[in-house]
Subunit: 255 residues, 6 copies
């Protein structure tokens, strides 16, 4: 039994609150247990210099935590005058993952900016950010399509992420909360599509190692969790969800 | 009639959501119309170097806006690597205002960090931040008193802030929303205590000027607004509010 | 009696030394008692990006202190690699105040850069900077008119600034020197035009508050001081002063 | 057949030049094909603040490329005034991987600084850096043991890393050179110990995805490559290699 | 004949205005023709970390130009957030030169900070800064001796600096003004003591070269100029000058 | 006899390894005793803004040391976020010296970037960098001429640099190693052309001074050393060396 009473392969309650703030083209508050992340998507009518004139778009992400998202106050990165390595890793991961499921050519020369701001942290902020960011991006594309800023639906598949780990008793745990994460021997983040394909895996033994069979066991559990997350995305996105289905011919029952 | 149907001396609906996030010693989400600011208070057991060994505490504030708190995406200050002049002005103002109503000696050698993060902006973010920050600070002191981290109640009076301005038709407007603020000839922020004393006034004519009698009229309206804000603080703070009353012998009917 | 023998409503001797250095379009050394600020004005033939193509000009200011302008050596902001919040506040204030009395359309697409460098500080550096900066700006516009870089006189009115405060004995003091400023309960900076209109007021109780009637008393004294400062500007500016009079029909006897 | 004539599961020639420069406690030039990285290890007699007094050591890494390590000149990070996200990710990866095979308590309160400077890049710089850094760290510990700066041998196992990927023809390729890497659909870096345990896997589909069976195939090939790298480390480290064997009872034939 | 009517070996009028501002321990305004530099000396009761506990002092310098010291406005280094290479070179040169003529052990563990701020530039700002800085430092030591902050006079010899160059007509010119400096083939700065010893020479051919005999000719002229500068220092320093004479037994007639 | 057994006027063994890395247009590893510097030259088809449209090229240099080029680990400048004054001085010196022997008009609107990275330091890194940088630049121009990126040979003369100093026993030493440099009273860097003309001299007495006759003696010895360095450049550059001879009609026997 886990510290919050969950089964080893049980994830925390997930909630997606759409249209959370009024200004962004897409805005979602994702809650995964006590982890809460505001994910906002902005569509800008230009691309970074390296893409100009190539007829395709770009997706980039920024991630931050409010100073008191954490139990101890964290110094604000704007006050330090620089962004930490951890933040940069997460930002690069979110952008890379989203680009995998979007047909950048269909976007035209536009940039989607994803802003993930953690207002309360309890483990799994980067994976919650990916799952929420995907949802906010879909809302933004829906609005852009309605307003004819884009002419075709560019999202090819669903995308969600979850953490999985191994604790000191060698148990495989799905969706680690902060306390579990701090004590885990191995920590892995998995990003998958609605079709069950892998987009990114990052498995790390911090002062510990893991075997190939443990890797397999972790991936099995992660796959189960991601299926549930995508089911929630489908439920909340409604007609936007239909566009993804049509684009890909995906039926999540088949994952 | 104003763009949102209000009377000239009518402020927007105000809401204080206490204990908004779980980690901070004091956490409040203040909504003033569509302006929403998360105000978190942290108590740290040390003071800045210039105060060490002087037997008194310190209160300091940081302020930021999520990139899509605004209609257009604003570049993140952490990405720019520096904090803008506007942010610094607001941070200094919030800290200075709060210190005015706290007996720093009663705090002991502690620092209160106030983090004001605007998640949605529609004018008046700095005054909403002050009103919300005061409330969050009171919650944090209440917790610290209960846990015996401080031994005496240090808050001497209520504190709230509001904006007031003059539009092109020379009307005095209370609590400007973003569109009104952008078009105002004169913009003034007023910070007052529960006893009706002035803590800070900052009146600015941007490419316009104002007379002494207009100043008087603006202050009259601001005073009315601040009375209503403090009334809401009293209502929400409950027993914590009683501590302020006892410390000061204040009755808001007398303001 | 004040520490330097002045009456409570008496300001320190003011001196404006015009054409202080040879390179700038306008150069003034202002002395207010022991406070000495070099104010240089530069006219540049372009505007910031947000104003391009709008047919109007811009006025912006920078402020700094030599490290030994103060009793203790202050670290150079270039060595720290960043500008403090105090400096930013002052820079923004100076630029905003000057823009209020200039018809930016008459300037054409030009920028006036104001550089205020404090070489000796004894309180009131920001107000001295405004009074000196206005004078330097007028010299620069005079030169620009003579050289036909601008075709119309753009300055609509005089501009000067002064500090006023309340000490622990509740006396209202005009033009605080450093020692008075350090001990004041309330400190207020007032910027006014030659016509007696308010441009900016910033009143602050640092760990103290003030009443509406104290505010009125401070403004009365400030107004007296500003009248004297503008009288000195008129005297020194000579024919340039006439241009301001003509533009506005102002007679300082009427302020 | 690959662009440089290799088999799909064949890695490039690897060379470890020990004692490459004279000052560092451990210095190695690793060449993997045309990729050349100087790996220097420094032992410092203190630990970062968060570890002080805890009786254990720390290992941290820095990574950089000479501007012309690449085909196009890359701007120097010192000139830009900040380190890129890519560099930070690599630095964190190298440090984390090395800490996994070292008993930090046996080091005492010391820090090992690893500096990896790429002087010529042709793909796989981060994995070459890990393999070279491990070797340099062993040399540094050998010297520290001889000089009695440490009293016990702290390295528990070998460590090496390699890249593996999938090209557009769905072939699994071991040890991608730059051109292959630029065109790969999937890129994965694998870090393993001499005992064949996983330390870190980072698999990324850049605008592509991969299946669980492809993941398995990539890991098989990576394992083969890492065995060869560790065999080379053993050969070059000589008596230092014996210490690792003794510490762990490892026989690489068993990997 | 030179552009300002001087002989080739004639320097511009030099003026040293002692006690220029009131706060610094030593304050001098040096004018060399139209070049004007405020040189302030501060004595601080501690040394940089690398000298702690070694019983000797340190002398360090900072140099800056007001934005409109120059004909075109120069961007403020604090706004750029970094100090240019040119500024750093000059700062290092001033500090190094001053340390050569001071017995650092006699200072005790103190630091002299020299601040050289150019308020008007017309060539030769770095050499004027050295000559002025030496004078300001002597005033500061005189004050420190009087106040018993130091117990012995530490300055061993005079110090002054001058520029010399070769123009396109191969003439050797002493003390180049800005226009001469911009057009010179060779530019050399020479720092010498009152005893005629060399402290620093920096000779540079910018897109030109120079012969050994030209070097000799430049040094002859520089020596003449420095003698005159030191004569002016002696005249202005009065009794402080006597202390230097006694310390060194120098008679400038003998230089 | 010197610490490494050399005569006072004897330099350390010099080696130039051409085409050291594969990517740069010109790449040289220069070894001067134990000092080793990688010098890479890049030709870019544009010039800095201040030269655009002027029909001439530019040469600029960057210099850095690997953290463990030195006996103690030096903090990486990219980690500090800024370049030290020492580095800036050296960079400016290298660029300035190279520009002296190149006809910038013959280069056309191109920039040569020189990157000097010290991989092992034992004194004289900046002079070794100049000698190596000149050689790498010649290789780059040779390649550019062959590829018809430039149409004329632009290098007018050879260029090399060496250090010379005076030790505590008043001996003149050529080519100081690190230990000699640390203890020298006077340190001078001399840059000369193949024709024996001076390009730059920087002579510094750190807490010591030097006479005119000592300066002469130092220059004599430096000249001898530079002749030997240029002889080595000629030997290694082969046909490229012929181009320099033709351009200038230089015969090094005549130096």
């Amino acid at each position: 039994m886990r510290i919050d009473g969950r089964q080893t392969n049980e994830q925390r309650p997930v909630e997606l609150e759409l249209h959370f703030t009024k200004h962004p083209e897409g805005s979602v508050l994702i809650s995964v247990g006590d982890t809460k992340v505001i994910c906002n998507a902005t569509i800008e009518d230009r691309v970074p210099p390296f893409l100009r004139g190539k007829g395709k778009g770009w997706i980039t992400a920024e991630y931050a935590m409010l100073p008191r998202a954490t139990a101890e106050r964290t110094i604000r990165e704007s006050s330090k005058g620089k962004v930490t390595g951890r933040t940069m890793e997460i930002q690069r991961l979110i952008g890379r993952a989203l680009r995998t499921v979007v047909d950048l050519k269909k976007m035209g020369e536009k940039t989607v900016w994803i802003d993930c701001d953690v207002i309360q942290a309890d483990g799994g902020t980067r994976t919650a950010a990916i799952t929420g960011a995907f949802t906010a991006m879909c809302l933004a594309f829906e609005k852009a399509l309605t307003e004819e800023r884009i002419s075709e639906w560019p999202v090819k598949d669903y995308l969600a992420a979850i953490s999985v780990g191994i604790n000191a008793s060698k148990q495989i745990l799905l969706d680690l909360c902060y306390e579990e994460d701090s004590n885990a021997d191995v920590d892995m983040n998995v990003v998958m599509t609605g079709s069950g394909a892998l987009v990114e895996i990052q498995g790390t033994g911090e002062e510990a190692v893991f075997s190939r069979s443990e890797l397999t066991a972790m991936l099995d559990v992660a796959e189960k969790g991601i299926k549930e997350l995508i089911s929630e995305q489908q439920h909340k996105l409604g007609k936007t969800s239909d566009r993804i289905q049509e684009t890909k011919g995906v039926n999540t029952d088949d994952i």
